[in-house]
């Protein structure tokens, strides 16, 4: 059985836009230019989506341009390609109970 260094091979997303979420709530998106087995990641034309200053888990529409960045793999909580990423209406057919 072949085992890659990571459960998801990021090689296929090189030169594509990806979104990266961090522990602590930060979220960025950018063009994946490089990565290593620890999921440190290089993003180009990176844009951070800013959060509500009063609620760290609420995203706003505000963004800020960062440019070419290195993201620390130890702080990454999620990586996904932006292709196929789409906001949708509640797909569960019922109001989620809070």
């Amino acid at each position: 059985m072949t085992s890659k260094p990571t459960v998801l091979d990021l090689e296929k997303y090189i030169d594509q836009e990806v979104s990266v979420k961090f522990q602590g709530g930060r979220e960025v998106r950018g063009i994946l230019k490089g990565f290593d087995p620890l999921v440190n990641v290089v993003l180009d034309e990176c844009v951070e989506t800013l959060r509500d200053p009063n609620d760290a888990y609420r995203l706003t529409d505000k963004t800020r341009r960062l440019g070419l960045v290195v993201c620390r793999g130890l702080q990454v909580s999620l990586v996904c390609p932006n292709e196929g990423l789409q906001e949708i209406e509640n797909p569960f057919g019922q109001q989620p109970q809070i």
């Binding site: 990571t6 999620l78 996904c80 292709e83 209406e89 509640n90 019922q94 989620p96 109970q97 809070i98």
Partner: protein, 136 residues
């Protein structure tokens, strides 16, 4: 059984992951490693407040950001099926060949598979709405 062996047995199956930041991800498990880093396909992401939803084709989730995973009940049966042949192999080395173990395993597999399929559909629907209600 060990949690990580349950997880690796669950490859290919749908599950719900809640992260420490409150987001939930419903999708099919593609891969998992010994740090509980996972990759999912065909994912629906729900925001912490339950008011926003996204379709995500594929994603990588870091193990240490996972709060919990909800997996279909029948996976537990699948793990025990996998453990059985291993135990039988150990027994065979000490005793006669052609023990009843082989026959029993096939029988159990069929029975479990049938029950699991029906239960899975029911659980899958409840699971999505349920955990948030339970957790809060």
């Amino acid at each position: 059984m060990f949690p990580l062996s349950l997880l690796t047995t669950a490859k290919g199956n749908p599950m719900l992951i809640e992260l420490k930041n409150g987001d939930t991800y419903n999708g099919r498990l593609v891969n998992a490693d010994s740090w509980m880093n996972i990759s999912l396909q065909g994912v629906i992401c729900t925001s912490k407040d339950g008011d926003r939803f996204w379709n995500i084709a594929e994603c990588y989730i870091r193990g240490n950001s996972i709060k919990y995973l909800r997996i279909p009940d029948e996976i537990i049966d699948m793990v025990q099926e996998e453990e059985m042949p291993v135990k039988d192999k150990n027994k065979k080395s000490f005793s006669h060949r052609g023990r009843g173990g082989r026959v029993n395993t096939t029988g159990r597999g069929r029975g479990r598979g049938g029950r699991g399929g029906r239960r899975g559909e029911g659980r899958g629907n409840d699971g999505r709405g349920g955990p948030r209600g339970g957790a809060r």
